[in-house]
Amino acid sequence: MNEILFSNEVIVYLLSETIIYGLLFLSFIVSLGILKSWNYENFNQKQFILENRSYLVESILFFTLILKVFLLPYFVYTIDNLSLLIPGAMCGAGVIEANSYGNPLLILKMIILFLSGLWFSINRLDLQKKSYPYLTIKLWLFVAIFFLLSIEYSLDIAYFTHIATETPVTCCSVLFSQVGGANGLPLGLTLAKLVWLFYLVYILLMLSIFLEKILLSVFTSALFAFIAYYAVVYFFGTYVYQLPTHNCPFCMLQSYYYYVGYLIWGLLFFSVYLIFNYGVMSYFFKTNFQKNKAMILSLLTAFVFVCSAYVILYYVRNGVFL
């Protein structure tokens, strides 16, 4: 455990998380104070102070969210580096599986980013109006996010303090393998069906966004994220690694593959986030996201393009598919 905690990246990461959590805790206390006494109709000094304090919450959240957006890839980079210290691990996949905290931690981080982004959309809307109509909603949302953040921070500590450097972990080639009859694909799909489904759901998603069918877009995007994850790991990834048996979501984040993993996962994550955000804001807050439509459509297409490009280039160079 000591070697892990003395790794440079882990120290930097945990320091950043601690500072962020400290600031967010302060924000949490301030938010509770605001929620208790907020009354927009009041003309007194107390109300004025509360309005000022809401700016503190906003500033802290702005700073910490920006940081968290950088810390997520940094976290992935950290665990990738840790693979040098842990026997059996060739990339981050093995390190994440080193204990039971890894995967929930990673998923929780993504959920927090989604919800924090939503917070900012609501905040922007709230500030556009003249009577802070959504202040209580956004502060309660922050309280909920803070609850998740507390779990995240505890998981961070638990995860890094429970990585054994003596016990070998399974490498991605075993974790994600399809050899020996093991099928990592969901719902009993074959690879061909998965790829077809990938492109079909992509088209459906593009259409639903273009036609501004909100609920359909949100549900389709969740489905697309699910399918896309498996498609990238079991199909497109093999073209990145140029090896039909190399199925791994983490290896493509390494310098050997020009860090393309960050691009692929980043595009997918960001486009799904925007759809989620657009869905919630349109449905509950009746906002119109015309201008975001173009961005969402281009990001989705960019993601599909990058994935497909590897396949096409491979075929062009070698005349066959894997």
Binding site: F43, N44, F48, K130, Y132
Partner: protein
């Protein structure tokens, strides 16, 4: 058209404490477009506070303030700032310029967040400095200017965004006779340009000007 409408407005400092002090009591006031209104009274009569409330720099304890059809008495900061940046030009008693920066940069300051391009802003800055006759000192730092020059810079800054309403708080308190007369002449020009002007001052010189629409006397926080 009413530019300013104030109804039953009270302002109390340090409410619910031993230092509680009602600085403005039951103010009712209407200012029409293109008027030049003088708010006169001794120090402590509440003139400056009245102006800062109209500018949404402070919020009243009760009552309504409507300026250019906007209810400014309860605006959140973002909207209050936008409102000031768009509609109000303020000239302070102590000029309140950014001493370490140049005249140009000071005059530019209200337009930084207006959404205009740099060249558009420069154009407006040049025009405003010309109007206030300070363009020859554009690159000079404020702390090297004389009192009259600082005043003109403050005027240029107050006019750069072409506000409909101009508020002046004791504008001639730190000026000599010559600069005071220059200032008055500028005010007359502004009135001709269609601006509405409210001046808080205890300088008796203003009471007798022909361009002045009316004089409002204040005492102990009340309008007499």
């Amino acid at each position: 058209m009413n530019v300013i409408t104030i109804e039953n407005m009270h302002k109390i400092y340090h409410e619910n404490s031993t230092e509680e002090f009602e600085v403005l009591k039951n103010i009712n006031l209407v200012v029409k477009k293109n008027e030049m209104v003088i708010v006169s009274g001794v120090s402590g009569s509440g003139k400056s506070t009245l102006l800062s409330l109209v500018a949404a720099l402070e919020k009243p304890s009760s009552g309504k303030i409507i300026v250019l059809e906007e209810l400014v008495s309860k605006l959140p900061d973002i909207h209050a700032s936008k409102y000031r940046a768009k509609h109000i030009g303020i000239i302070f008693q102590n000029f309140n310029l950014l001493e370490s920066l140049s005249v140009e940069t000071n005059v530019m300051a209200p337009l930084i967040h207006s959404g205009l391009t740099f060249s558009q802003i420069e154009e407006k800055v040049q025009y405003s400095m010309k109007l206030a006759s300070i363009e020859h000192k554009a690159t000079q730092e404020i702390r090297l200017l004389s009192g009259g020059e600082k005043q003109r810079c403050a005027i240029a800054r107050a006019l750069v965004h072409n506000p409909e309403l101009i508020l002046c708080d004791e504008p001639t308190a730190n000026l000599d006779k010559e600069n005071t007369l220059k200032f008055i002449s500028l005010l007359e020009t502004l009135q001709e340009l269609g601006k509405t002007i409210v001046i808080a001052t205890h300088d008796p010189l203003f009471d007798t000007l022909t361009c002045v629409s009316r004089v409002i006397k204040m005492e102990n926080g009340r309008i007499l």
